[in-house]
């Protein structure tokens, strides 16, 4: 898609996002804050899985690390929440990078299994270290007030905060992935051996990508602790990691805007399913998943890209060859 189009659409989306608080209730603002938070997490996972081809079923773990870092810093050491967010990000960057090193030996299915096992272990580990994490009860935080005496309510403040961080991280990701780094990352996904023989330090890139991906998701986790004002082990179970995977596939692998569509899906479709059927809401959700995958196997953004590419190709095609040829 031409760059001007992309920037144009992004600008329109941003304007809509900025205007939304005027017409939404506090609860809806909270829901949209969640969407932005999920989008950051999905961006993180997409960098790793979509662009770099390393499948992770365990990103809920980094979300949890980010959330608990914030919660513990606020609860035990009264650190202002603003500082906890970059700390969570850096911590997850390091943890992700370190995890990326043994992960170098694992491919496809095996990496998925390892991250799956990790995701399963997270609630148990959180409950085990009760002294820090508050065990099954979790940690309760207070909702922050808008800074500098701004004339908006806490929910509106959190809305703009999450939106702002999302925009910054989106632009950062777009720049990272557009240049040489991005090409190297994708090259590793498509043909690691060829990339390596062309001088790309695959080991370093793969571990770094893991780190950056974890950092994004950790920041999202930190923000969720701040907005929800509560963390508990059972909210970070394996289903969260699977939800993230659903989000990036639905939104579109290897796409930045896909993170937003995916986030909208995972935030609102479960509610929609509940409205449709009180008795078996998850069955409806499952139907949504399957129907979506039939209609758009490459996700929302992937399908749009394909459709646009086809139209462009048809316009560029010369007239068909004349019928008949010498026998």
């Amino acid at each position: 898609m031409p760059r001007t189009w992309t920037w144009g659409l992004a600008a329109i989306a941003l304007v809509i996002a900025l205007v939304l608080p005027l017409s939404l209730s506090n609860f809806h603002l909270f829901q949209f804050s969640q969407v932005y938070i999920y989008a950051i997490a999905l961006l993180g996972l997409n960098i790793l899985t979509g662009y770099n081809g390393q499948i992770s079923l365990g990103h809920g773990a980094f979300y949890a690390i980010g959330a608990y870092t914030t919660a513990i810093m606020i609860d035990q050491w009264s650190v202002p929440y603003g500082w906890t967010i970059p700390v969570a990000g850096v911590l997850c960057l390091v943890v992700g990078f370190l995890f990326g090193i043994p992960a170098l030996r694992l491919e496809g299915l095996y990496l998925a299994l390892a991250t799956f096992a990790l995701a399963l272990a997270v609630p148990q580990i959180l409950k085990y270290f009760e002294h820090w994490t508050g065990g099954s009860q979790g940690i309760v935080l207070g909702k922050p007030n808008p800074p500098w005496g701004l004339p908006i309510n806490p929910d509106q403040w959190l809305y703009f905060l999450t939106l702002g961080i999302l925009v910054v991280l989106l632009v950062l990701a777009a720049n990272l992935l557009r240049g040489r780094t991005g090409r190297a990352v994708v090259a590793i996904r498509d043909n690691a051996i060829a990339a390596q023989s062309m001088g790309v330090n695959t080991a370093l890139y793969k571990s770094l990508t893991f780190g950056v991906s974890a950092a994004y998701t950790g920041v999202a986790g930190a923000l969720s602790a701040v907005t929800v004002a509560y963390v508990a082990p059972d909210s970070f179970d394996v289903f969260l990691s699977i939800t993230f995977l659903v989000g990036i596939v639905i939104g579109g692998l290897a796409s930045i805007s896909g993170a937003i569509f995916g986030a909208l899906f995972i935030q609102f479709v479960p509610n929609l399913a509940q409205d449709i059927s009180k008795a078996a809401p998850w069955a409806i959700y499952g139907v949504f998943l399957i129907v979506f995958m039939y209609a758009m196997p490459r996700g929302i953004v992937g399908t749009v890209r394909l459709a646009l590419a086809r139209r462009l190709r048809r316009r560029a095609e010369p007239a068909a060859a004349p019928a008949g040829s010498p026998r």
Binding site: A114, Q124, P281, I290
Partner: protein, 293 residues
Amino acid sequence: MDTLIQQVVSGLATGGIYGSLALALVMIYQATEVVNYAQGQMAVFSTYLAWSMLNAGLPYWVAFAATLAIAFVGGLLLERILIRPVENAPVLTIVIVCIGLLVILNSVSGWIYSYIQKPFPSPFSSRPIQVGNIYFGAHDLGALGVTLVLLAALYAFFRFTTLGLAMRAAAQNPVSSRLCGIRVGWMLAVGWGLAAMVGAVGGMMVAPVVFLDPNMMSGILIYAFASATLGGFTSPGGAVLGGLIVGVIENLVGTYVSFIGTELKLTVALALILIVLLVRPSGLFGRATVHRV
């Protein structure tokens, strides 16, 4: 020593169930590179159907056989109807479809049968069987026996029948199989049917022990993953053996290591997965994937 033997046999019995589910997972993975996350839920749903039949008064083994038949047809139809439209899509897309199936089956099971645990009968007596000084649970031995008979039948099918040969060929090399006139799509469907059948047997053997509820298989699915990882996702025999080993390890650790209660038992399975993946990702019997440059 007697306790040890008892625990080993008990572990083998549960291991047989893990191995069955692991086998079902590996069968589908070998043919499609997709892990069917809904395998456990399909087994649960089949077990619920068996429960309905038993509730309606059918004799056990009649209900058992009927459930196997329904599971086979169900698995086959699921592949043809649900998976076929996306069979050429990226792997993750198919995974999401399987997750959708998982969620649907779980939710529908809960809706029809409620989330209250139900007892499920065992066809084997509740009196222990005595061999020398050791007492074995009749259900343990019976479940192990059923599992082994099932696996032997499957092995014979794949090894000695033409259809089995064609299915193996279709899983290994779909392109060449088509050039032999094999309808690869239908081979896949039969594979799903057989996997569903294997899962149903596992479900019916484990339900008497853990009681029937929609989430019955979630824990077991994790053990099945551990089994398949240990044995090797590319080796059906390895998956079964892996299951037996995992079952025995789980039981022995639970018995002899005091601080591992029921919660941490799961951690044992997870630790096993991680250790195997770190040391030898392809498992005991799997082949390491060789990438042709």
